[in-house]
């Protein structure tokens, strides 16, 4: 498997008044194509920060992340937006859906954002069809016109999953996708993620749950901002 994402010497610190909080202290890791990687760690260990940096939602204070050899630090403006839009798909713990939009509109939003208003007219029908297929795959066929606040937690997360996949990203980044769900609903979300992995999707997931980590192909344990160990599975 070829290396897709490579993080080298990642440090991230925040200024808290006069003090400096070092969240990540020199993280080296890589993500291989087609793998299911879990980053596990206690609350405050820096795992979500690392995921945000891998997905170019945040920049490291020191170090760099390279995507297929290109440093994300060098990406600016449209190139950075395109990376977030086309290469990675994010699933957040708190879903982060747009409440004013319907389920279908939420799912097609990244496709719209990526092509602009004029480009949208040419891909509209194809994108809507794909969104409907994804929502059907995740059991939300009857919820297309519903607003996110009319859905259960599991349905919201499945909508977020469909949104993350609409542009067929190379890497799916999931930040505690089951953290806000009951165990049964969370298990359903995990099964969906596992089936995506079986279909060849590269997945990086952050969790603090050892049982979830056990289902991954490879596990990186993060403790106080440093990689403690890397295992095939726990």
């Amino acid at each position: 498997m070829s290396e897709m994402l490579k993080a080298s010497g990642i440090q991230k610190s925040y200024r808290m008044g006069k003090a400096t909080l070092n969240v990540l202290r020199g993280v080296d890791m890589s993500v291989k194509e087609g793998e299911f990687l879990v980053i596990i760690g206690a609350s405050g260990s820096g795992k979500s920060t690392l995921l945000h940096i891998l997905g170019a939602l945040d920049r490291p204070t020191e170090g760099q992340v390279a995507y297929e050899g290109t440093s994300l630090n060098t990406l600016r403006g449209r190139k950075l937006d395109r990376f977030r839009n086309q290469t990675v798909g994010f699933v957040f713990q708190f879903y982060h859906l747009l409440n004013e939009l319907s389920v279908l509109e939420n799912v097609i939003a990244p496709a719209m954002a990526g092509v602009g208003t004029l480009g949208w007219l040419s891909v509209r029908n194809r994108t809507i069809k794909r969104a409907e297929q994804l929502l059907e795959q995740f059991g939300l066929k009857d919820r297309l016109r519903h607003k996110p606040y009319e859905l259960s937690g599991g349905e919201r997360q499945r909508t977020a999953l469909a949104r993350a996949l609409i542009n067929q990203p190379r890497v799916l980044l999931a930040d505690e996708p089951t953290g806000n769900l009951d165990s049964r609903t969370g298990s359903g979300i995990l099964e969906s993620i596992e089936s995506l992995h079986r279909a060849g999707q590269t997945i990086v997931m952050v969790t603090h749950d050892e049982r979830i980590a056990a289902r991954a192909g490879r596990v990186i344990r993060l403790t106080d901002g440093v990689v403690q160990n890397v295992n095939k599975s726990i």
Binding site: L57, R78, R84, F92, H96, A113
Partner: protein
């Protein structure tokens, strides 16, 4: 008459400045309230310019609708001004236009198309200028900051 026109011009200038300020404040507050949504849009790859255009477009549309409604209201008022004045005089004995001072029996009304277009353009421009800074601020928001704040 020239003094009155200069006075009116000054009044319009002040109104323009106030409009810019009001649009700036309102849009700034809207950007603050929609921080989470902006963060979501940025995280799914919406470009800085795209997000800024949404807010700037909102400001311009507000200007177009506001100026349109104001101009329509102004034109209707001008059209019926003498009738309104007559109605006020008949019902309340209140005469705005003292006939003993001016040698005309009706308030003169004239719509200058160039002036109408200018006022419309100034109003829309005022909204555009007022919305510029908040729109740019919205576009430049970093996704991770707004998303982290929204989940606290």
């Amino acid at each position: 008459m020239e003094k009155e026109q200069a006075m009116l011009l000054l009044l319009f200038l002040m109104l323009g400045i106030i409009t810019v300020f009001i649009v700036f404040v309102v849009l700034y507050m809207i950007v603050g309230h929609t921080s989470r949504d902006i963060g979501i849009l940025r995280s799914i790859g919406a470009p800085t310019g795209g997000v800024a255009v949404v807010f700037e477009g909102f400001a311009v549309l507000t200007g177009v609708f506001g100026a349109g409604i104001g101009l329509a209201g102004g034109c209707v008022f001008l059209w019926r001004m003498n009738a309104i004045e007559q109605w006020l005089y008949t019902h309340y004995g209140w005469q705005l236009w003292d006939r003993s001072l001016y040698a005309i029996d009706a308030i003169p009304t004239q719509v200058d198309l160039w002036l109408v277009v200018s006022i419309f353009a100034v109003a829309v421009t005022a909204c555009l200028v007022g919305g510029l800074a908040p729109s740019v601020k919205a576009g430049l928001k970093r996704p991770v900051e707004t998303l982290q704040v929204s989940q606290i």
